[in-house]
């Protein structure tokens, strides 16, 4: 098979997997709607709805038809972007989600940056001092931090750093009056776009704690993966050859071992991106950021089922798409994976 065709085949297969995943996700959500106890129309219309309104919703959702017909109509609505209407905001759920998504993405991206900028140096240092005290300390820290529930860590740090010592704002996204004009919905980006440094700094003080809390668990994973990978590479023959040239350990580690170890770490970081969106839900609610997590949390509290399940569907779909993009990016960026994928077969 020619290289171009094998590429095309690869992307087609990936795309097929994603379509299958999205279809499964949608069907799962349909199943969820069906297992909700009680009258579906009443749930969709909200507990306070009048009988007339319930009847209207029943008719609009086509709940009198058979389950199979309902299933196809459900997909018909999904494909038109109709995730139902929230009974608390009285808005289409999709519209609510679109408004809250940027804030969540901002949190995840900043958390990822913190994650990598802590775990990569830590992994390098630990591998360089393998078996030493620093290595031991870092490994113990990774185990302990990796076992902490994110929402609890969020609460405790919020109490300590924000409430008690007032180093950082307690919750929210901006101080009153510091909000940049909404453009992307991402406070930091909007502040940059508006050229407002004060507003940017303000937004950063609000995001640093939530993002750091979100980063903790994932940075312990990256730390461990990088350390293991580095230790493996440091045992390989070519590292001995580099040492035989008279290279310093620093040069051996950063110039040769690190580039050869980074691949599994990047793969892991790619899968983390999706998982972090899920975990952001927990952190957001603690810090009252206007993201999907907080929206979902409120929807659960209000028994706003269409908003909850719409969020599940939306987050699931975004995670699927991110996984696809990460997969494809890896192939495009890394010539070695390309060779492994297309060279051998």
């Amino acid at each position: 098979m020619s290289r171009a065709r094998s590429y095309l085949w690869f992307f087609a297969k990936r795309l097929g997997t994603v379509v299958f995943a999205l279809w499964s996700l949608g069907s799962l959500v349909f199943l969820m709607i069906k297992v909700i106890p009680g009258d579906e129309a009443q749930i969709a219309a909200g507990p306070d709805a009048s009988p007339d309104q319930v009847a209207l919703v029943r008719q609009r959702l086509g709940l009198d038809a058979s389950v199979i017909v309902q299933y196809f109509r459900f997909w018909g609505r999904l494909l038109h972007g109709d995730l139902g209407t929230s009974i608390t905001t009285f808005q289409p759920v999709l519209l609510d989600l679109e408004r809250t998504l940027p804030s969540t993405l901002e949190l995840v991206v900043v958390a990822m940056l913190i994650n990598l900028s802590v775990s990569i140096p830590a992994g390098l240092i630990a591998a360089a001092r393998r078996g030493g005290r620093t290595d031991g300390l870092f490994r113990v820290l990774a185990v302990i931090l990796g076992g902490m529930p994110a929402f609890w860590l969020a609460l405790m740090l919020q109490y300590l750093l924000a409430a008690r010592y007032r180093l950082l704002p307690i919750s929210g996204q901006n101080s009153y009056g510091m909000e940049p004009p909404r453009w992307t919905g991402v406070p930091t980006l909007d502040a940059i776009a508006a050229g407002n440094m004060a507003s940017l700094l303000d937004a950063l003080t609000y995001i640093v704690l939530p993002a750091a809390v979100l980063a903790v668990l994932y940075s312990t994973q990256i730390f461990r993966a990088l350390r293991t990978s580095l230790l493996g590479v440091l045992e390989s023959d070519f590292i001995m050859a580099v040492r035989a040239k008279g290279a310093t350990e620093r040069r051996v580690l950063i110039g040769h071992a690190f580039p050869n170890s980074i691949n599994p770490v990047l793969t892991l970081a790619g899968t983390q991106l999706g998982a972090m969106i899920g975990a952001a839900v927990l952190v957001e609610t603690v810090f009252a950021r206007r993201g999907i997590g907080t929206y979902m949390f409120n929807a659960v509290a209000q028994k706003d089922m269409y908003a909850v399940l719409g969020s599940v569907l939306f987050i699931g779909a975004i995670v699927c798409l991110i996984n696809l993009v990460v997969d494809v990016l890896q192939i495009v960026v890394d010539p070695r994976i390309r060779a492994a994928q297309f060279g051998r077969s």
């Binding site: 390989s236 023959d237 070519f238 001995m240 050859a241 580099v242 040492r243 035989a244 040239k245 008279g246 290279a247 310093t248 040069r251 040769h256 580039p259 050869n260 070695r336 060779a339």
Partner: protein
């Protein structure tokens, strides 16, 4: 037929000149479960300037570990004794001084060129690195790299510099590894089975190249191999290692004509030869002992036809014997056959 060594055929020893490398009672040990095991067990030898010495032995005999210990490359093992190279004791150098020796005074060539090259760096980068480490500018280092590749008869060397290891053939990679070792202009080249991973035709090319380069540069070479066939054509002297110690050390002609140690004789008998009329190939019975289970007394005694009680009890030391050194209580007769 009796074959007398021909003194005119090998370089005359220069009296009074200090050897380039002299190793005295080198032991290399590794810790396993709180006890220490000697992998190399009291090895002593020296190499003169311009001399080419082959270190021969089966796998597990400790020859590679000896070679790496000379460069202090076995980080998990502990070396004792002394290794004096160019007037300085390697085992007493600071880490910084040791780095200057690696790639400077001593260059090293490894067995499998593919696994000893960084897959993510260009060939040019990797050859020049030895000089870059020493503060040479990128331009000068690359010019020198080009020069070395030319010297090693690599065609279209300038284009090759920007290629990656996986784009090269085995023989070409071995030349690259050789260039990496030579670019620092070493006095001693340690070649750890440099031809083992190559096919026979390429082996010959690399050997011829090594022969030529070492001659023209006056390099001392320590050539580690398990292939006696290679030794005969290349080395001035041959040392045979068995179970962590040198059992025989002599010039190539005498040793091949009349080995004094039963193990060396066994190895030589196992080499197929067309000039000798025999319908079967002799082989040494048994297998070499594992590092952790080396026998008492002479380590070779369980496999030796000439062994007697003393061999079981007392370990023979390397001693002078008719111009050679042999570690055996009952050496083969001087005039063989």
């Amino acid at each position: 037929m009796m074959m007398q060594p021909n003194p005119a055929g090998r370089p005359a020893p220069v009296p009074g000149e200090a050897p380039l490398l002299s190793v005295d009672n080198l032991c290399v040990s590794i810790r396993v479960d709180d006890r220490s095991v000697n992998i190399v067990d009291g090895v002593s030898f020296s190499i003169r300037r311009g001399e080419r010495v082959a270190l021969v032995g089966e796998s597990g005999s400790g020859k590679s570990v000896t070679a790496r210990a000379l460069m202090r490359l076995e980080r998990r093992m502990k070396a004792t004794g002394s290794i004096v190279c160019d007037g300085r004791d390697i085992l007493k150098l600071s880490d910084g001084e040791m780095r200057r020796v690696r790639g400077g005074t001593i260059g090293m060539v490894f067995q499998d060129p593919m696994s000893f090259l960084d897959p993510l760096r260009t060939i040019g980068d990797q050859i020049a690195e030895t000089l870059r480490i020493r503060g040479v500018s990128r331009r000068d280092a690359e010019r020198k790299a080009l020069h070395i590749l030319d010297e090693l008869k690599v065609e279209r060397a300038a284009e090759r510099l920007t290629a990656y290891p996986h784009e090269f053939s085995g023989g070409m990679r071995q030349r690259v590894v050789l260039a990496m070792a030579l670019i620092g202009d070493p006095r001693l080249l340690i070649a750890d089975e440099p031809t083992t991973a190559l096919d026979v035709r390429v082996q010959d090319q690399v050997l011829a190249l090594l022969d030529e380069i070492s001659r023209s540069r006056g390099l001392s070479v320590l050539f580690i191999t398990h292939d006696l066939g290679i030794v005969a054509g290349f080395a001035d002297r041959v040392m045979v290692m068995y179970a962590g110690s040198v059992v025989e050390d002599g010039d190539v002609y005498s040793t091949f004509a009349a080995p004094r140690h039963p193990y060396t004789r066994g190895l030589l008998d196992a080499v197929p030869r067309i000039d000798r009329d025999s319908d079967r190939l002799a082989s040494i019975r048994g297998t070499p002992p594992h590092v952790f289970a080396r026998p008492q007394g002479c380590p070779f005694h369980p496999r030796c036809d000439r062994a007697f009680e003393r061999c079981v009890i007392e370990r023979p030391v390397l001693r002078e014997l008719g111009g050679m050194r042999v570690a055996c209580h009952r050496p083969e007769p001087e005039a063989a056959r």
